[in-house]
Amino acid sequence: MSVSYSQVTDWVSAFAVAVAENKEYLTELDSAIGDADHGINMNRGMQAVVGKLGASTADDQTDIGALLKTVGMTLVSTVGGAGGPLYGTLFLQMGASAAGKPELSPQDWADALAAGVAGVQKRGKAERGDKTMLDALMPAVDKLQDALASGASFDDAVQASATAAQEGMTATIPLVAHKGRASYLGERSANHQDPGATSSWLLLRAAADTFSGNGAD
């Protein structure tokens, strides 16, 4: 059981679809505690990614790392805001971790995701509990690693990881933001779900949907 090049492409595409579908929702969440652009930004970036992947005529689909780096670079240069460098870094670091690999073992996938999330943390200097995308990403990585370590199937592991992301996302609601635009709100940022954590949950859910069940082989 492993993740193929085309499955990674499928995952990215599924994320793009999810972002497009939730564009208004993400922007709505951002307008409550930020500047009303998260959905617009992410959608602009993911549409560019889809365009890029569609246009790429590389027959040689052997380097998942290169693929992820392209995604990262595209996001960096099209998203802007905080989301651009953060999601860009996530994919760039995942790409570095997966460099040269034509397919990813479950552990490769977990390592890549962990590297990506570590990159986000390093770039944004946020901690868990700061009410950011890390509140969805970090539990997702932990759960993925734990599940694999305890011998769970890849299917179960990616599902558990998405569920952890969702729980992390929901847990941002009561939190007071300490990073990003929402931090300027202080106490008033509580009772609102973080938009970045929400898009991160969409990312992990897309992975679960793509890699588990008849998605993964």
């Binding site: 805001g81 905080a82 931090s183 008033r188």
Partner: protein
């Protein structure tokens, strides 16, 4: 949403085409990625000044490109920090061998994208310094937050550092000067109405018919508190008191008083704000020795204002008075 636009997705692109058509004699407008550059850039031996941020704050920053102020500006999507490739392109375009200063407003997105750009520029052997402006007293600084937002002092820093760069001061000097301006500038804003991001299509926030938001951010981010609208002399006191107490500004200080319109505020109201601010400061022995009144750092059509005070010394005053020739700010030229 009613706006003088075509497709919301084309707002920034078409506005830049307007800038190119209007000011092509003195500005170059690059696309892919979007950058506004002085027509005569790079200038040999002069520190290059680059700033940038989300669009929707016009004339900042694109309207401040020209002799005596910025060498280049990077316009992002509306209220969205621009991307590192824009800043890299701008940095390369204005590098005259004396290095490049990035003037960055303190928003996570701006800081992160400028950081990535600086890394890329340094990898191409361009000397880059970055100064982050964080002058908004509305939201108190703390170890645990992203810090204060960068607002009105940015305009003043761009003007003052631009003048210093024209004098061929070194990158270290100009960067230190920028930090000095930031250290001596404080701002706070308020809104009577929301703005509407074109791509979002509806107001970012809702204020009741008698409500105002004190401490508003320039992207419509909420601030300190929502209150009943009161007469402007009380509003000025709500904005100026935290500003004055923060630095603090005190009796005998000379200041530049900047009364900024948020984009939808009639100029006649800004003059009333200025009148009240003048009285407020006079009462405290603070002398306004320079002023700037108008919409310079805006939030689309938002109604409201912000006040920025900058403590002046002879150096800053002389640099403020130096000639500037940009579409948004011009004198002595």
């Amino acid at each position: 949403m009613k706006k003088l636009i075509n497709d919301p997705a084309d707002v920034v692109k078409e506005a830049l085409q307007g800038v190119a058509a209007a000011h092509g004699d003195r500005l170059k407008v690059l696309t892919d990625p979007n950058v506004i550059v002085r027509a005569d850039a790079p200038i040999e031996g002069k520190v290059g000044l680059v700033s940038g941020g989300g669009s929707g704050h016009e004339p900042m920053h694109g309207g401040f490109v020209g002799p005596g102020m910025l060498d280049a500006a990077c316009p992002g999507e509306v209220f969205t920090s621009p991307t590192p490739d824009q800043m890299l392109e701008a940095t390369k375009a204005v590098n005259g061998g004396a290095g490049v200063l990035h003037i960055v407003k303190n928003y996570t997105g701006d800081v992160l994208n400028f950081e990535m750009a600086a890394d890329l520029a340094r990898a191409e052997d361009i000397e880059v310094e970055a100064v982050v402006i964080d002058d908004d007293v509305a939201v108190q600084d703390s170890l645990y937050t992203a810090g204060r937002r960068g607002v009105g002092t940015t305009v003043l820093a761009e003007k003052i550092c631009g003048a210093a760069a024209e004098q061929r001061r070194s990158l270290t000097d100009v960067a230190d000067l920028c930090r000095k301006v930031n250290a001596n500038g404080r701002s706070m804003g308020m809104a009577l109405t929301s703005c509407t991001v074109p791509a979002a299509g509806k107001p970012t926030f809702e204020l009741g018919p008698n409500e105002m938001e004190i401490g508003i951010g320039i992207h419509g981010e909420p601030g300190r508190e929502r209150k009943e609208v009161v007469p402007v002399h009380e509003i000025v006191s709500m904005l100026a008191t935290p500003i004055v107490e923060d630095l603090p500004f005190g009796s005998g200080d000379k200041v530049l008083a900047f009364v900024n319109g948020m984009g939808g505020t009639p100029l006649i109201e800004l003059y009333i704000v200025y009148y009240e601010l003048h009285r407020f400061l006079s009462d405290r022995g603070i002398e306004i020795s320079r002023n700037l009144i108008g919409p310079y750092i805006t939030s689309l059509e938002m109604q409201g204002c912000s006040i920025t005070l900058l403590k002046l010394d002879d150096e800053l005053t002389a640099l403020w008075d130096a000639p500037v020739n940009t579409p948004g700010l011009r004198w002595g030229a």
